[in-house]
Assembly symmetry: C2
Homo-oligomer: 492 residues x 2
Amino acid sequence: MKPSIPRGTRDFGPAEMQKRNYIFSILRRNFELFGYEPIETPTMEKAETLLGKYGEEGDKLVFRILDSGNFWDSVKDTPFENDYISKRIKQKELINIPQSEMTQVQKDEFNRLLGYFTATNRISVQIAGHISEKALRYDLTVPFARYVVMNQHNLAFPFKRYQIQPVWRADRPQKGRYREFYQCDADIIGSDSLINELDLISLIDKSFSELKIPVLVKFNNRKILSAIAEIIDAKDKIVDITIAIDKLDKIGKDGVVKELTEKGIDASAIQKLTPLFDFKGSNTDKVKTLKTFVGENTIGKKGIEEIEYLLNNSKAAHATIELDITLARGLNYYTGTIFEVKANAGTFTPSILGGGRYDDLTGIFGLPNMSGVGISFGVDRIYDVMEELNLFPESISKTSSTKLLFAHFDESNRDHCIPLANELRKNNISCEVYPDIVKKVAKQFDYANKKNIPFVCVVGSNEMQNKRYMLKDMSKGTQEEMSLEDIIKKLK
Amino acid sequence: MKPSIPRGTRDFGPAEMQKRNYIFSILRRNFELFGYEPIETPTMEKAETLLGKYGEEGDKLVFRILDSGNFWDSVKDTPFENDYISKRIKQKELINIPQSEMTQVQKDEFNRLLGYFTATNRISVQIAGHISEKALRYDLTVPFARYVVMNQHNLAFPFKRYQIQPVWRADRPQKGRYREFYQCDADIIGSDSLINELDLISLIDKSFSELKIPVLVKFNNRKILSAIAEIIDAKDKIVDITIAIDKLDKIGKDGVVKELTEKGIDASAIQKLTPLFDFKGSNTDKVKTLKTFVGENTIGKKGIEEIEYLLNNSKAAHATIELDITLARGLNYYTGTIFEVKANAGTFTPSILGGGRYDDLTGIFGLPNMSGVGISFGVDRIYDVMEELNLFPESISKTSSTKLLFAHFDESNRDHCIPLANELRKNNISCEVYPDIVKKVAKQFDYANKKNIPFVCVVGSNEMQNKRYMLKDMSKGTQEEMSLEDIIKKLK
């Protein structure tokens, strides 16, 4: 058996872990500098907690867990199973009759059954409802809302939390898109003040500067999108419109128009929308044009007011943000500001951060009027950008956690090293004793080199007797005879 | 809808996270002090990678992922589905005939079908094979072995790795037993030297001393258990015997005897085993008795030799270990030394660390002769022990990540605070601006208290004008007027 891992998932070896931890530690430090506190939620959530929150397309990407034990018991003898089996039998009877010999009734029945059994997705969805009550976390925002509702009486509101955990999506894997990836989220819930948006903009700005990634911070406001839907009289199509506009970068203007048409938006309405695809100029210019477009529409005016507040105050947060009216963010729950960050250099185009305000995400779980806003750093994509742009400090890949390797010639030399190693560790010096007896010391030096261990201490019979050890500096190639105490002093 | 989380899973709030991170950081530091390097593997593994490695009882506890999309397509029209449906139809026809009116053939058929459909587990297992190709990580050892085989050409052997990630088991939740829990593993693979066992014993000893948990470190050797199976002539029953003996603590001597009988081990063989359940005395006494029991059995003698090496050399590792001949560790893959650690105080009885040597775990994946040995710290149980014994440093629960809160009276005061906050953060001082406009400053002080924020800076119109701010020390209750520079100097 040749082992492999599921498509869209990855292993991380020691070198990748060091780089990933470098990103995590910068984000974690910044989250704490801004007063966000850590929480963690379970990998598995009840399916009902997640489904219905991410839009139709999102729901399809939720990984479900098969119930443990005799899960088929929950399907057996249900009306669903009875119906399925009787339909299956009828189909199998009919399939043996040549089309030419079928009566009209049989033909109709056959076609009806054919339709039923080729619409397998409906069958799968029905069965899934019986045999899978848990699902894997799809993002960190919905579990956070669920957490807030369950712990509302113990939390100090407004509650600022950060959360660094993986999420899973059954998406088609491709460059920058994984089926398991980490999100690093910061949210503040229980306050509708726009100062929270400013706080997040500062956090974005500071984090990416420290990571040294040049970025473009785009924002928009869902209220503008709602206003547009009202103006073109397609209020019930707001989700379809945002999903279509969100694809502008990927499928172009023509693609968006095509998708809008397919979703039943008529040509004159689409005509009204098209100017939005070509918004140009400075933020101020854009706001001016937008004002004309929105006119007296109430929600639209509120959206513009929020946009102007952020534009006027973001300078205090030292950040440059760009209004992008075509930014939509597919997720169902956003209601106000939405954010997106892309790298402003290199060839990597997917967004590396997303976020926005949700006015009532906790309402679904029984706690209404809890406005929140948050952002999510996509660490795996940040990693890809940093690799391409060569932004990891050189020191990272050259450091080993082990500072010293004890090498030796025979069993008694080796066993002599064990208490020495423990002494070093007591002094916080990371070290190892090469475990096997190998004739050639060269092999042990090889091991040290491969692992980037900077010092090797060779212990032979003389060294054991004199308690003075040869310490070799692997990068300089020099060596020096020293006592254990001096080695500790040198490496501490 | 009242939200909840799946049975056996937990949320961790900020206070729990601080305590958990305290444990993680001690373990991580020690892993690195001993030269172990970090890796991470995916949450989802192919089901075939995991199944068959944990024994029959373990396999049942593996959580499986439902294939995404139209998973039922893979069942439809398979011989299995055809067989299932025709059986189901026959059963439904027969169920309508009163027993008294059935012919003998019908009766036999009915009973046969009844047997088939009540053995639902077989049906579930068959269906699962079609609709679920992925599963959740059950431990970190098997994914590690899979990782080593896939990356064998890039690794420096012997390879020492540590891994801190959650695992999932569909076990019945109870005290100390969760369905999602973290393992912290250290393994060394590619060396069969017993010095690695000593290295791990030192690591165990040092880690638990730093956590201040008094522990009992027990060990045994699977070779002894193999010898016993040979001696009582039940070689094919070795797994059953280890599983039964492993339960000695839980079900007592009578329970073990009962289970062994059920597994088909005859009374005279069990009779031979029973002295093992009552091994008493010092390690030396036990080895002596064991030598008599094992006699000239080859594998038994090898086991004793390994045990004696560890007993003779563990003093160099400063650790006290206790030989426990009834220790078995249920997992299939162990072949040599096995470890188990329990807290030696309080009422918490489950083990908080387990581990052992596996001679050929990578063999299944195509890389034979790679002996490895490892241990796994159970962080969630360590947490429970430390809570019960009150071992978390008091400082942990009293620290907030936020050092200072800016409080204010109106919008202009508040907006004045934004650049001040950014200035503090530039100097690595964690702070927040209270986001909402509330008339009462008391509410803002409340927030600071609930979040354990040690300093509050109240900004009103005077402060804005004079650029001197009132800094209140929340624990002392004192306050002082200061410039921003002085605040930075004080809190830095």
